[in-house]
Assembly symmetry: C2
Amino acid sequence: MDKVQLYINDNKERFINELFDILRIPSISAQSEHKEDMVRCAEHLAVALMKAGADHAEVLPTAGNPVVFGERKISDTAKTVLIYGHYDVMPVDPRSEWTTEPFEPQIKDGRIWGRGADDDKGQLFMHIKAFEAMCATDSLPCNVKFMLEGEEEIGSAHLYDFCEQNKAMLAADIILVSDTSMISMDIPSITCGLRGLTYMEIEVTGPNKDLHSGIFGGAVANPANVLTRIVASLIDQQGHITIPHFYDKVRELTDAERKAFNKAPFSLEAYKSSLDVADIEGEEGYTTIERTGIRPSLDVNGIWGGYTEEGTKTVIPSRAHAKISMRLVPNQDFNEIADLFASHIKAIAPSSVKIDVKFLHGGAPYVAPTDMPAYKAAERAIEEVFGNKPLPYYSGGSIPIISGFERILGIKSLLLGFGLAEDAIHSPNESYGLVQFERGLQTIPLFYKYFAEA
Amino acid sequence: MDKVQLYINDNKERFINELFDILRIPSISAQSEHKEDMVRCAEHLAVALMKAGADHAEVLPTAGNPVVFGERKISDTAKTVLIYGHYDVMPVDPRSEWTTEPFEPQIKDGRIWGRGADDDKGQLFMHIKAFEAMCATDSLPCNVKFMLEGEEEIGSAHLYDFCEQNKAMLAADIILVSDTSMISMDIPSITCGLRGLTYMEIEVTGPNKDLHSGIFGGAVANPANVLTRIVASLIDQQGHITIPHFYDKVRELTDAERKAFNKAPFSLEAYKSSLDVADIEGEEGYTTIERTGIRPSLDVNGIWGGYTEEGTKTVIPSRAHAKISMRLVPNQDFNEIADLFASHIKAIAPSSVKIDVKFLHGGAPYVAPTDMPAYKAAERAIEEVFGNKPLPYYSGGSIPIISGFERILGIKSLLLGFGLAEDAIHSPNESYGLVQFERGLQTIPLFYKYFAEA
């Protein structure tokens, strides 16, 4: 064990305690009541970067939540690694399904439980602590920059401008991101593809007030019924999305590509049993791995209208709403898809209701090349820690800003994530395995080492 | 003006103040947190009956909310009128749309504003005060019984048993009910038909927890999407309900009946403009009056699932729900319809989800004959007060217990309601016009007089 690994080993209990302080801050970017928590979390992280060994670190304002920037420069000639992470977390509802307090982290069954334990506080904190270990042992082989944002879960709206305005400050050879998952601890993987995202909200308004469903039932358009018709019609019986021109730019993979793609280990029985579903559902003609990796999708993320409490209320609601997001694959443009969606919804809405369609956020898909030096360095580091060479993996998830980095800063990202499906990110009872945290800590300094040598 | 009308005129300000005391009690039967308010409201009404002139009045327990029973007997030979009303009210959500406090009644623009102002506290209170006026002036021409329940808005579940167990106590020549509306103050009407009701709740369960919509989107059944498919399929493009055998027992009216039925004054333009809708929607081949009066309907009363708060959450919800009610017409059996609904939903649900279908409450349709003495007496009383002969009217609403009374007690009901569409019952900003309240007070004693003479 070298001195970096020894340092990590000697300090890992303290690292967990420090992570807990960050997990306790309810930095939910989607809810404006947490505005102050966002600032508090950013300030906390700037201090953490300074303590870890940064030359300087600061909380930089944006039109939204602030960005934490910090750096340490070792030389003009060394390579520069820009760490990107996000300190904002998802909302915690349904609150009642949590078995621990979401913002009172605890360790149980070898895992850290709490909102953000994995996504992304747990993962970004490994980078701060790996950086500390390299600084403390005088082993840092690269220049390091940190850019930690507070709006990833709501689309990174203000980070694009931030990048435009700080290109020189953010200059780097690679952007290193731990905000993704591996197939398993035995089958490590590096994420090479991310889907894009277009997130929309529909409001259907019928009568100008809630109506008595007896007196009016059958004679007026019920906006909740109309909403179900509209939403149901967006996917046909073959699982295809029916929005005109939705698939126009989707690249069909060749048979050879599909064959390679389907080599990733996958058990449908294990998948179904882990979700407790008797059957799956998706686009006809594609495997489950393809459905999430290379095919776009459309999901209702939320739907509401009328009386939703205990008991009964015989009402025709005045309004009904749905939040609907689409995952996009390479070549699909999220703004174009938003326009296609809005036009289609308006075109199919009956004249008996008014329709409002809002674009909430979006991001482009991303593909990482497996032949770049950073990928090779990561592959070597992972193999050394995990004992197995990582597979390239196409995730169904989205990190919208990643393609933005490439466009604005001209820098590729390496998606070196240590999450697992069981971490239940975005769900109640999010957790992060201690073994994942430790292996991440071990892998990151090795990545620096091999990347510096490359 | 006779002495009864004089008494009413002299005391009407006090009557309003007394009504306000009742409106202040938040007796929402659908919400269990109001359990004690139900009892408080019942006790308040029993006292009010005693003060009005009842020989005795009491709060009688049921397995649910109590029933207030009171009576005054003038002779063995006089006819007996049984007043039925309900002291429970609808929930007040969406709370934010109320412009006054729902349980702080006030008078504004010649109307009483507050939950229950019309339905049914305002209407039942006219009966208590008309009774008081007749008692106080020694003019009561009939025996009177009051039966005021606290579960009408949730289906009168325990009143059926109460009637079964108290047949002798409830014996009467007519049941008099003010819980319906008139066409307008200029076109008074008596409700001769009520639709029945079957109220159901569907729960669709997909994966065992909320999932990340990126990682899983496109590969698993999203219960919210599935729910929209199921609900949308329940009504076809012609506005027909698609549940097999749903229409089997619906009686088609003859051309002559339909012609007579459509004689009631109706302006589609005024209807649309009062609801602020550009178009209406309903079953093909029927007029608006027919769609609510003689045809069954199916409405989503509530729908919910996933993330419904501010901003975005990229989640596939584990569960999605809908409350759906169907209005029924003569010969349709509400239990049978509940079974048909549940079987159909289960039959069309895909194997990728689990489905739970619950029956929440129901009631049979009702038709009142226009040739019975009570109808004739009401017709004469209304004509005298309103200046116009009332039209027979078929309401789209339901009072499930009314058909129960006929079945269990063998007594017909007279639906002598003084509501108006603008009262917005079940909606935010419920109100009841002072002129409606006064005309009701004037009409009721005349009804007693003519009914006693008949």
